[in-house]
Protein backbone atom coordinates (compact mmCIF):
# COMPACT_ATOMS: atom_id res chain seq x y z
CA UNK A 1 0.00 0.00 0.00
CA UNK A 2 2.81 2.46 0.64
CA UNK A 3 3.41 2.70 -3.10
CA UNK A 4 0.32 4.94 -3.31
CA UNK A 5 1.79 7.61 -1.00
CA UNK A 6 5.15 7.37 -2.73
CA UNK A 7 3.63 7.70 -6.20
CA UNK A 8 1.59 10.73 -5.12
CA UNK A 9 4.70 12.46 -3.73
CA UNK A 10 6.75 11.54 -6.79
CA UNK A 11 4.12 12.89 -9.19
CA UNK A 12 3.94 16.09 -7.11
CA UNK A 13 7.68 16.64 -7.53
CA UNK A 14 7.54 15.87 -11.27
CA UNK A 15 4.64 18.27 -11.94
CA UNK A 16 6.28 21.02 -9.89
CA UNK A 17 9.52 20.72 -11.88
CA UNK A 18 7.62 20.54 -15.18
CA UNK A 19 5.76 23.72 -14.42
CA UNK A 20 8.97 25.45 -13.28
CA UNK A 21 10.63 24.56 -16.59
CA UNK A 22 7.60 25.81 -18.53
CA UNK A 23 7.30 22.41 -20.24
CA UNK A 24 4.06 20.97 -21.65
CA UNK A 25 4.70 17.27 -21.52
CA UNK A 26 6.76 14.78 -19.51
CA UNK A 27 8.21 11.96 -21.60
CA UNK A 28 10.25 10.10 -19.04
CA UNK A 29 10.77 10.02 -15.28
CA UNK A 30 14.03 8.56 -14.00
CA UNK A 31 13.70 7.18 -10.49
CA UNK A 32 16.36 5.78 -8.18
CA UNK A 33 14.99 3.29 -5.67
CA UNK A 34 16.88 1.28 -3.07
CA UNK A 35 15.80 -2.34 -3.02
CA UNK A 36 15.57 -2.29 0.78
CA UNK A 37 12.62 0.09 0.55
CA UNK A 38 10.54 -2.72 -0.87
CA UNK A 39 8.80 -0.75 -3.61
CA UNK A 40 7.29 -2.89 -6.31
CA UNK A 41 7.73 -1.39 -9.78
CA UNK A 42 4.44 -2.75 -11.15
CA UNK A 43 2.63 -1.28 -8.20
CA UNK A 44 4.15 2.21 -8.62
CA UNK A 45 3.32 2.01 -12.34
CA UNK A 46 -0.28 1.03 -11.57
CA UNK A 47 -0.86 3.99 -9.25
CA UNK A 48 1.02 6.30 -11.61
CA UNK A 49 -1.20 5.44 -14.59
CA UNK A 50 -4.21 6.28 -12.45
CA UNK A 51 -2.89 9.44 -10.75
CA UNK A 52 -1.19 11.01 -13.79
CA UNK A 53 -4.32 10.96 -15.97
CA UNK A 54 -5.11 14.44 -17.24
CA UNK A 55 -1.74 15.88 -16.10
CA UNK A 56 1.30 16.73 -18.29
CA UNK A 57 2.89 13.52 -16.96
CA UNK A 58 0.20 11.27 -18.44
CA UNK A 59 1.85 8.53 -20.56
CA UNK A 60 5.35 9.38 -19.28
CA UNK A 61 7.63 6.34 -19.15
CA UNK A 62 8.77 5.45 -15.65
CA UNK A 63 12.35 4.28 -15.50
CA UNK A 64 13.44 2.52 -12.34
CA UNK A 65 17.09 2.34 -11.38
CA UNK A 66 17.05 -0.20 -8.56
CA UNK A 67 19.97 -0.02 -6.11
CA UNK A 68 20.78 -3.34 -4.42
CA UNK A 69 21.69 -3.27 -0.73
CA UNK A 70 25.36 -2.87 0.01
CA UNK A 71 27.04 -3.19 3.38
CA UNK A 72 30.44 -2.59 4.92
CA UNK A 73 31.81 -4.78 7.67
CA UNK A 74 32.84 -2.83 10.76
CA UNK A 75 35.25 -5.58 11.77
CA UNK A 76 37.30 -6.22 8.62
CA UNK A 77 36.20 -3.41 6.28
CA UNK A 78 34.96 -5.67 3.48
CA UNK A 79 32.27 -4.11 1.29
CA UNK A 80 29.72 -6.68 0.13
CA UNK A 81 26.20 -7.27 -1.13
CA UNK A 82 24.16 -9.05 1.53
CA UNK A 83 22.26 -12.18 0.51
CA UNK A 84 18.49 -12.22 0.82
CA UNK A 85 18.39 -13.48 4.41
CA UNK A 86 22.07 -13.40 5.18
CA UNK A 87 23.49 -10.12 6.37
CA UNK A 88 26.79 -11.44 7.68
CA UNK A 89 30.08 -10.29 6.19
CA UNK A 90 31.28 -12.35 3.24
CA UNK A 91 34.86 -11.74 4.37
CA UNK A 92 34.85 -12.68 8.06
CA UNK A 93 31.29 -13.77 8.90
CA UNK A 94 30.68 -10.90 11.35
CA UNK A 95 27.17 -9.41 11.59
CA UNK A 96 28.55 -6.08 12.80
CA UNK A 97 27.82 -4.31 9.55
CA UNK A 98 26.84 -0.91 8.30
CA UNK A 99 24.37 -0.53 5.42
CA UNK A 100 25.90 1.80 2.84
CA UNK A 101 23.39 1.57 -0.03
CA UNK A 102 19.92 0.26 -0.79
CA UNK A 103 17.77 2.86 0.99
CA UNK A 104 17.69 5.47 -1.82
CA UNK A 105 14.40 6.96 -2.94
CA UNK A 106 14.53 9.95 -5.24
CA UNK A 107 13.62 11.43 -8.62
CA UNK A 108 16.93 11.67 -10.48
CA UNK A 109 15.72 13.55 -13.55
CA UNK A 110 12.80 14.08 -15.89
CA UNK A 111 12.73 14.39 -19.66
CA UNK A 112 10.25 16.98 -20.91
CA UNK A 113 9.11 18.80 -24.05
Amino acid sequence: MHELSITQSMLGIVLEQTEKAGARKVNRINLVIGEMCGYVEECVQFYFDFLAKGTPAEKAVLSFKMVPPEARCRECGTTFQPGEFNWSCTGCGSVNIEITAGKELFVESIEVD
Binding site: M1, H2, L4, S5, I6, S9, M10, G12, I13, V14, Q17, A21, A23, L31, M36, C37, G38, P69, R74, P82, F85, N86, W87, S88, S94, V95, N96, I97, I99, K103, L105, F106, V107, E108, S109, I110, E111, V112, D113
Partner: protein, 211 residues
Protein backbone atom coordinates in the same frame (compact mmCIF):
# COMPACT_ATOMS: atom_id res chain seq x y z
CA UNK B 1 15.07 18.33 -22.58
CA UNK B 2 16.35 16.58 -19.49
CA UNK B 3 15.98 18.29 -16.14
CA UNK B 4 18.10 17.13 -13.20
CA UNK B 5 15.82 16.86 -10.19
CA UNK B 6 17.57 14.85 -7.45
CA UNK B 7 14.70 15.31 -5.03
CA UNK B 8 13.92 12.93 -2.24
CA UNK B 9 10.45 11.52 -2.90
CA UNK B 10 9.64 11.58 0.79
CA UNK B 11 10.87 15.17 1.14
CA UNK B 12 7.36 16.59 1.63
CA UNK B 13 6.67 14.11 4.42
CA UNK B 14 10.00 14.97 6.04
CA UNK B 15 9.17 18.68 6.01
CA UNK B 16 5.88 18.09 7.81
CA UNK B 17 7.73 15.79 10.24
CA UNK B 18 10.07 18.69 11.08
CA UNK B 19 7.03 20.88 11.75
CA UNK B 20 5.64 18.21 14.07
CA UNK B 21 8.91 18.04 15.96
CA UNK B 22 8.96 21.81 16.42
CA UNK B 23 5.38 21.79 17.69
CA UNK B 24 6.20 19.01 20.16
CA UNK B 25 9.37 20.76 21.33
CA UNK B 26 7.54 24.04 21.79
CA UNK B 27 5.10 22.30 24.11
CA UNK B 28 7.89 20.35 25.86
CA UNK B 29 6.41 17.01 24.84
CA UNK B 30 8.73 14.01 24.49
CA UNK B 31 7.34 11.65 21.85
CA UNK B 32 7.83 8.03 20.84
CA UNK B 33 6.88 6.41 17.55
CA UNK B 34 5.98 2.84 18.53
CA UNK B 35 6.18 0.32 15.70
CA UNK B 36 5.81 -3.45 15.43
CA UNK B 37 4.10 -6.19 13.47
CA UNK B 38 0.42 -6.70 14.33
CA UNK B 39 -0.06 -8.31 17.73
CA UNK B 40 3.49 -7.91 19.07
CA UNK B 41 2.26 -5.87 22.03
CA UNK B 42 2.43 -2.15 21.24
CA UNK B 43 -0.83 -1.37 23.03
CA UNK B 44 0.09 -3.66 25.95
CA UNK B 45 3.44 -1.92 26.38
CA UNK B 46 1.76 1.49 26.32
CA UNK B 47 -0.89 0.36 28.83
CA UNK B 48 1.67 -1.13 31.20
CA UNK B 49 3.76 2.05 30.99
CA UNK B 50 0.73 4.24 31.71
CA UNK B 51 -0.19 2.13 34.75
CA UNK B 52 3.31 2.53 36.17
CA UNK B 53 3.97 6.18 35.30
CA UNK B 54 0.68 8.03 35.20
CA UNK B 55 1.02 9.36 38.75
CA UNK B 56 4.47 10.76 37.94
CA UNK B 57 4.11 12.22 34.45
CA UNK B 58 1.33 13.33 32.14
CA UNK B 59 0.91 10.90 29.25
CA UNK B 60 -1.00 11.17 25.95
CA UNK B 61 -1.58 8.54 23.28
CA UNK B 62 -2.23 8.71 19.56
CA UNK B 63 -3.52 5.42 18.22
CA UNK B 64 -2.99 4.59 14.55
CA UNK B 65 -5.02 1.76 13.06
CA UNK B 66 -6.37 0.93 9.64
CA UNK B 67 -9.84 0.79 11.17
CA UNK B 68 -11.67 0.51 14.54
CA UNK B 69 -11.17 2.43 17.76
CA UNK B 70 -10.70 -0.64 19.96
CA UNK B 71 -7.21 0.37 21.12
CA UNK B 72 -8.21 3.97 21.81
CA UNK B 73 -11.13 2.76 23.93
CA UNK B 74 -8.80 0.47 25.88
CA UNK B 75 -6.32 3.28 26.51
CA UNK B 76 -9.12 5.78 27.21
CA UNK B 77 -10.08 3.71 30.27
CA UNK B 78 -6.82 4.86 31.86
CA UNK B 79 -8.06 8.45 31.69
CA UNK B 80 -5.24 9.76 29.53
CA UNK B 81 -5.90 11.97 26.48
CA UNK B 82 -6.24 9.67 23.46
CA UNK B 83 -6.77 10.40 19.78
CA UNK B 84 -7.55 7.66 17.29
CA UNK B 85 -6.28 7.96 13.71
CA UNK B 86 -7.95 5.63 11.23
CA UNK B 87 -5.79 5.46 8.13
CA UNK B 88 -8.66 4.05 6.06
CA UNK B 89 -6.54 1.38 4.44
CA UNK B 90 -3.10 2.98 4.48
CA UNK B 91 -0.55 0.67 6.08
CA UNK B 92 1.38 3.34 7.99
CA UNK B 93 1.04 6.73 9.65
CA UNK B 94 2.59 9.65 7.84
CA UNK B 95 3.65 13.05 9.14
CA UNK B 96 0.52 14.76 7.88
CA UNK B 97 -1.82 12.33 9.67
CA UNK B 98 0.15 12.95 12.85
CA UNK B 99 -0.04 16.70 12.30
CA UNK B 100 -3.84 16.51 12.19
CA UNK B 101 -3.94 14.37 15.32
CA UNK B 102 -1.63 16.73 17.22
CA UNK B 103 -4.14 19.52 16.66
CA UNK B 104 -6.63 17.50 18.69
CA UNK B 105 -4.24 16.79 21.56
CA UNK B 106 -3.92 19.02 24.63
CA UNK B 107 -0.15 19.22 24.11
CA UNK B 108 0.45 21.67 26.95
CA UNK B 109 -0.90 19.11 29.39
CA UNK B 110 1.28 16.26 28.16
CA UNK B 111 4.89 15.35 29.03
CA UNK B 112 5.14 12.02 27.21
CA UNK B 113 3.32 11.18 23.98
CA UNK B 114 3.04 7.66 22.61
CA UNK B 115 2.30 7.46 18.89
CA UNK B 116 1.20 3.92 18.14
CA UNK B 117 1.83 3.23 14.47
CA UNK B 118 -0.08 0.75 12.29
CA UNK B 119 1.08 -2.82 12.91
CA UNK B 120 3.49 -3.45 10.04
CA UNK B 121 7.25 -3.97 9.79
CA UNK B 122 7.62 -2.53 6.28
CA UNK B 123 6.04 0.85 5.52
CA UNK B 124 6.22 2.64 8.90
CA UNK B 125 10.02 2.42 8.68
CA UNK B 126 9.95 4.70 5.64
CA UNK B 127 7.76 7.51 6.91
CA UNK B 128 9.31 9.71 9.58
CA UNK B 129 6.72 11.37 11.79
CA UNK B 130 8.81 13.84 13.77
CA UNK B 131 8.83 11.80 16.99
CA UNK B 132 11.89 12.06 19.24
CA UNK B 133 12.59 8.32 19.37
CA UNK B 134 11.56 5.27 17.40
CA UNK B 135 10.71 2.16 19.38
CA UNK B 136 10.31 -1.27 17.82
CA UNK B 137 8.33 -3.87 19.75
CA UNK B 138 9.31 -7.37 18.65
CA UNK B 139 7.87 -10.48 20.24
CA UNK B 140 9.06 -14.02 20.91
CA UNK B 141 6.39 -15.84 18.83
CA UNK B 142 7.46 -13.91 15.73
CA UNK B 143 10.78 -15.76 15.70
CA UNK B 144 14.38 -14.60 16.00
CA UNK B 145 14.86 -14.17 12.25
CA UNK B 146 12.84 -10.93 11.97
CA UNK B 147 15.84 -8.55 11.97
CA UNK B 148 17.17 -10.31 8.90
CA UNK B 149 13.80 -10.35 7.16
CA UNK B 150 12.94 -6.70 7.83
CA UNK B 151 16.37 -5.07 7.97
CA UNK B 152 15.21 -1.54 7.16
CA UNK B 153 12.93 -1.36 10.20
CA UNK B 154 15.67 -2.65 12.49
CA UNK B 155 18.20 -0.12 11.20
CA UNK B 156 15.81 2.80 11.76
CA UNK B 157 14.94 2.39 15.45
CA UNK B 158 16.56 3.61 18.70
CA UNK B 159 15.48 0.71 20.89
CA UNK B 160 14.08 -2.79 20.42
CA UNK B 161 11.71 -4.06 23.09
CA UNK B 162 11.46 -7.85 22.91
CA UNK B 163 8.05 -8.68 24.39
CA UNK B 164 6.43 -11.97 25.52
CA UNK B 165 9.60 -13.42 27.06
CA UNK B 166 7.30 -15.41 29.38
CA UNK B 167 6.72 -17.64 26.31
CA UNK B 168 10.42 -18.48 25.86
CA UNK B 169 10.11 -21.96 27.45
CA UNK B 170 7.52 -22.95 24.86
CA UNK B 171 8.92 -21.43 21.68
CA UNK B 172 12.07 -22.07 19.70
CA UNK B 173 13.50 -18.56 19.94
CA UNK B 174 17.23 -17.92 20.09
CA UNK B 175 17.68 -14.67 22.04
CA UNK B 176 21.40 -14.60 21.35
CA UNK B 177 20.89 -14.88 17.57
CA UNK B 178 18.17 -12.21 17.73
CA UNK B 179 20.33 -9.77 19.71
CA UNK B 180 23.34 -10.43 17.49
CA UNK B 181 21.30 -9.71 14.35
CA UNK B 182 19.83 -6.51 15.83
CA UNK B 183 23.22 -5.24 16.95
CA UNK B 184 24.72 -6.18 13.59
CA UNK B 185 22.24 -3.98 11.75
CA UNK B 186 22.09 -1.26 14.35
CA UNK B 187 24.82 -1.33 16.98
CA UNK B 188 23.36 1.60 18.94
CA UNK B 189 19.95 0.01 19.48
CA UNK B 190 19.46 -1.39 22.95
CA UNK B 191 17.52 -4.66 23.22
CA UNK B 192 15.21 -4.74 26.25
CA UNK B 193 13.53 -8.03 27.17
CA UNK B 194 10.09 -7.71 28.73
CA UNK B 195 6.82 -9.49 29.34
CA UNK B 196 3.81 -7.20 29.44
CA UNK B 197 1.84 -10.13 30.90
CA UNK B 198 4.06 -10.88 33.93
CA UNK B 199 5.70 -7.45 34.18
CA UNK B 200 9.20 -8.95 33.95
CA UNK B 201 11.77 -6.53 32.50
CA UNK B 202 9.45 -3.53 32.48
CA UNK B 203 11.64 -1.75 35.03
CA UNK B 204 14.45 -1.71 32.49
CA UNK B 205 12.11 -0.28 29.86
CA UNK B 206 11.04 2.44 32.29
CA UNK B 207 14.70 3.19 33.07
CA UNK B 208 15.40 3.60 29.34
CA UNK B 209 12.35 5.83 29.01
CA UNK B 210 13.35 8.02 31.92
CA UNK B 211 16.93 8.34 30.72
Amino acid sequence: MEIKVLKNILGANEQIAEKNRKLLDKNKVFSLNIMSSPGAGKTSLILQTIKRLKDKIRIGVIEGDISSSLDAELIGKENVPTVQINTGGACHLDANMLNNALENMPLRDIDLLFIENVGNLVCPAEFVLGAHRKVLVSSVPEGHDKPLKYPLMFTEVNVVVLNKIDLLPYINFDIEAFTRAVKGLNEKAEVIQVSCTTGEGLERWLDWLQS
